[in-house]
């Protein structure tokens, strides 16, 4: 069993299948990273640098944006990733009219339905 799992080739994070200790070298697919901090089972490790505002990709789709710079091997979780969906707290803080979806159509994953 591998120590970590990547689901899609586009992913920039891997899921730890066992607790990963600091300093361990983890290889998933063709990428090897040095684990920078302890990562609990089921939590995510960065496979590459992800800059503030860039998308964190798992299952081949964005799961949120980096809220601070993330280095390869770092723990990726709520302290450095922010959801972009359903964030009424941001809407309230920014004075956006209630009920208005602040995520623009261009930013959202959209799909042209198959005809």
């Amino acid at each position: 069993m591998n120590a970590a799992l990547v689901i899609s080739e586009r992913d920039n994070v891997a899921t730890a299948l066992e607790p990963l200790e600091k300093g361990r070298m983890v290889t998933v697919r063709d990428k090897t990273v040095l684990v920078a901090e302890p990562i609990a089972r089921g939590h995510k490790v960065a496979l590459q640098a992800i800059r503030t505002g860039e998308a964190v990709i798992k299952y081949g789709s964005p799961i949120g944006n980096a809220s601070r710079d993330i280095e390869p091997g770092a723990h990726v979780h709520t302290h450095n990733v922010a959801s972009t969906r359903g964030r009424g707290d941001l809407a309230a803080r920014e004075g956006v009219a209630s009920g208005v979806n602040r995520t623009s159509a261009a930013e959202r994953p959209t799909a042209e339905p198959a005809e």
Binding site: T15, Y59, V81, S83, R85, G99, A111, P113
Partner: protein
């Protein structure tokens, strides 16, 4: 290998197929819930009551949802006969519920606490009717039914990292096979589609189905935003986050696997509304497990497959709920709640397809009468979704 494609079910007069044969005891209103519970308990386990908090003090859409959900259970193929327990002055109309049962070809009776002369008389009369109905239903035999008659509800709760990697993909493969056999699948929990709606919309059978899906997800997101709050307090839940899930998008992408890998989205329906399409239907339910299962069974699902990472006991009064986990610690630590352990997928000792074969066999065995963990433990949770205050 050959997969089973039939089960022993109950062929109903309205041509629907049931997997259980309950005497359903329905309180029209919270005020008659205790009497209904006692009547159902007198013929356990065939008796099933629907304790709920509504039925009066409601206006508009909420009253309709309460009525429609109760009526849907009265017509449900897992129900053989119905006793409606009224108080006498409430809004939900007992006669309409018993008419719904009769239209589906079921025996139905009404007991009103006020006109019977109180709790004891109403309970005694209900127990007598319930015993007669139970004797009649006990003589109904199961017959071989095709899997094409199934509406499979898919659900996840108490998710962790194993849900998206193991149990949800296993359920998704079973969902695909049920659709291949001509059956239907229903997925609820719109908030947990948020972030993965593009995947389902890509698989829509029609432009209309895709548009309705995107519209309903936008509405739920707008509702969350309109509250001015951060939904991260509940989506993901604190337990989800401890389990490694970071955002609602991540949870949704893992959760949506359970609707299949290739089933086409055919329809989007309201809470508890009839599921009439083969293939995949999305139902507009909230993310709360019990409200979601309640609505999908109301829509006609005869069975629910429910994945869990952290473990959860949820059942339903009339539909078997099959629990699957990909977390080996939960499979052992909550063994009494778990029906199918697919943790071998995580340790790479079992393939997703092999686990799906095993789950499909279990689903059909449960449809033929094998009790689930939730049924053995008496888990019969029931909650009707409501949006507005009690007036």
């Amino acid at each position: 290998m050959t997969s089973p494609s039939a089960f022993l079910g109950y062929a109903r007069p309205d041509s629907r197929v049931g997997v259980r044969n309950h005497v359903l005891v329905v309180p029209t209103v919270i005020c008659s819930a205790v009497v209904a519970d006692r009547i159902a308990a007198s013929i356990a386990p065939i008796g099933a009551s629907l304790p709920h908090l509504a039925g009066c003090g409601q206006i508009g859409p909420d009253l309709n949802v309460t009525h429609d959900t109760l009526a849907a259970y009265c017509q449900h193929p897992n129900v053989g006969a119905v006793i409606v327990v009224a108080l006498g002055c409430e809004q939900v109309v007992a006669q309409q519920l018993s008419d719904a049962a009769r239209h589906a070809g079921k025996q139905a009776a009404i007991i009103a606490i006020q006109s019977e002369g109180g709790t004891l008389r109403a309970t005694a009369r209900g127990v007598e009717i319930a015993r007669r109905m139970a004797e009649t239903l006990a003589r109904v035999e199961r017959v071989w039914c095709r899997a094409s008659s199934l509406i499979l509800s898919v659900k996840c709760g108490g998710s962790d990292y194993t849900s998206g990697l193991a149990s949800n993909p296993v359920v998704g493969r079973v969902a695909d096979r049920v659709v291949d056999m001509g059956g239907a699948v229903v997925l609820g929990e719109i908030a947990e589609i948020m972030g993965a709606e593009h995947l389902l919309a890509d698989r829509a059978a029609s432009h209309e189905a895709a548009t309705r899906l995107l519209r309903v997800v936008s509405r739920v997101e707008a509702e969350a935003i309109a509250l001015g709050l951060d939904i991260r307090g509940t989506q993901p839940s604190p337990g989800n986050m401890r389990g490694g899930l970071t955002t609602i998008e991540e949870k949704s992408l893992g959760a949506t696997h359970k609707a299949g890998e290739r089933t086409r989205l055919e329809d989007v329906v309201a809470y508890s509304a009839p599921i009439t399409s083969k293939g995949l239907t999305v139902m507009d339910t909230p993310g709360l497990d019990v409200e979601s299962v309640t609505g999908m069974v109301g829509g006609g699902a005869q069975i629910c497959v429910f994945t869990t990472g952290l473990g959860t006991p949820t059942g339903n009064p009339i539909a078997p709920v099959v629990k699957i986990t990909g977390n080996s610690r939960t499979a052992h630590g909550m063994a009494d709640n778990i029906d199918v352990d697919v943790s071998g997928v995580m340790s790479e000792t079992e393939s997703l397809d092999a686990a799906a074969d095993r789950l499909l066999t279990e689903v059909l065995a449960v449809c033929s009468g094998r009790p689930t963990a939730a049924e053995r433990l008496g888990h019969r949770e029931f909650a009707i979704h409501r949006r507005n205050p009690t007036i």
